[in-house]
């Protein structure tokens, strides 16, 4: 469980990125932290594995304050997949890359081999085991980076802007994958500004703007609230926009899913005819 207690954070250059954040994330939750660029999303999640320590306030992970533990110890529980895989990849083979963190955490060699195989199979990159990560395509590198984090089986997985530059199919695959992770009782935290992606996943949404949390609740209630959405400078999902445009006809306005939209419209048309 991650508890954020009234956290303030100011960067060394004087920019105050977090202004009084309080939040509780329970085990096994699937949560999307949303907001425009500069709202403080990435700054916030960097507090969960201790990369950043609050200027004021406290972050407690599983009962231990992040100020009292090293990043390496916290990383054992909280896996962080960075936006750009090229910021991590440096080994000669994909195998070494995935094993890197396992070696840092002191796993036995036999366990390392097992886990590397498991992680590579999970992400569908087992055929590249002996390939240099630099030879792979962008999408494949992302998967190797993800495999290298999942290999040590962290309780919490943080994905920082995983949908950037991804095409529709890749996003679908990612969505299924996140659902799978969540089904395995992992806590999944996704930082994103991709509203359509979040609409399809329908997780708990924490909406941020200017270093503060302006909303915390279900995707359906938050992404369809025009005032909140305007405050955070994001655009509601297209389906929601369609229904907002028809609100004077008495249609519900909290629709984010295209299939639910169809059902409502068909029911309405059947009622009329």
């Amino acid at each position: 469980m991650i508890k954020v207690r009234d956290v303030y954070f100011t960067y060394p250059n004087g920019i105050e990125a977090l202004r009084g954040i309080s939040l509780t994330i329970h085990d096994g939750e699937f949560i999307a932290i949303m907001g425009q660029n500069g709202a403080g999303k990435t700054t916030l999640v960097k507090h969960f594995n201790g990369l950043l320590k609050p200027t004021r306030g406290e972050v407690v992970v599983d009962g231990v304050s992040t100020r009292e533990v090293s990043v390496a110890k916290l990383a054992r529980k909280v896996g962080f997949v960075f936006q750009n895989p090229d910021h991590q990849l440096f080994c000669e083979t994909v195998e070494d890359e995935v094993a890197f963190a396992l070696r840092n955490f002191g796993f036995a060699e036999s366990a390392i081999k097992r886990r590397v195989t498991w992680a590579l199979n999970l992400l569908g990159v087992a055929q590249y085991r002996q390939t240099s990560p630099f030879m792979l395509s962008g999408g494949e590198r992302k998967r190797v980076a993800l495999a290298s984090v999942l290999a040590w089986n962290p309780k919490v997985v943080i994905l920082d802007e995983p949908t950037i530059g991804q095409d529709h199919q890749q996003k679908e695959k990612l969505r299924h994958f996140i659902v799978q992770l969540n089904a395995q009782k992992k806590t999944v935290i996704v930082v994103t500004h991709d509203v359509e992606f979040v609409a399809e996943c329908n997780p708990r949404v924490v909406l941020m703007t200017g270093g503060k949390i302006v909303a915390d609740g279900g995707a359906e209630e938050i992404l369809t609230n025009p005032k909140l959405v305007a405050q955070a400078s994001i655009v509601p999902p297209q389906i929601t926009q369609i229904f907002l445009g028809l609100s004077d006809l008495g249609l519900p306005t909290n629709v984010i899913d295209v299939h639910e939209a169809r059902k409502i419209l068909l029911d309405l048309m059947e009622v009329a005819s």
């Binding site: 990369l51 390496a72 960075f82 910021h87």
Partner: protein
Amino acid sequence: MSVFEGFRFRRVSSVIHRLDPRVKFFYVCVLFVMAVMFSELLPLILLFFVPLPFVLVAGVQREWLRSLRGALFLAVIIFLSNFLFTYFYKQYPRAPSASLLEYSFAMTLRFIVLVGSFSIFFLTTSPDHLGLALEQSHVPYEFCFAFTTAVRFVPVLAEEAQTIMDAQKARGLELERGNFIKRVRNYIPILIPLIVGAIRRSLELAEAMESRAWGASEKRTNLYVLKLRRADYSLALGSVLMLIFAICVRLFLPVPSLTMLVHA
């Protein structure tokens, strides 16, 4: 991160900042030549104070003193090496003389004067101003471009290095632990992504440059032009006069040493 603060363009602007870099460079060279001309302590003390008004007008006192403080370590080495070598070579086993001490101080002060004069040049000249001066001085454009582009990307690379460190720390890499060899090896996961990233970046830059007609003309034109103004001419004239004065003193006046003055 604070090391790189100096590369950030400070919008503080003074008369000194607005002087033509070529003239400032000429002035610094004159100081350099004068410092080399004299081995005596008194003129070097004078030379040390010459740039001071410029430092104060430009408002860069704190940074200037910091740069001198940085040179302190080397200054001590210069003092000790001058003193010890000359002593053992010429004066041992007698007691070290006052003039030897003075000489060693003079050599050290010469070094500090050189550092100080170049430091004030870089502190009062913004990188784009400098790049423009290089261009107008007929340095081949490729070098000017390489210079300004490098300066432009220093803060970007610094940030990227920080992100890479975070990404690897999040995989359990501990940079502070271990003996010296282990610590050096721990920087490989930082350096490789940084270097690979720099190579990728330069490829993208090259594409962008080509796409904007790089190499289209033999002679490029320039949006800006450096024009010499009254202040520049004054500084240039002043530097020339200083140099002539120094040459005359060197040739015709015997420069007294501090030791002699004190004993007299």
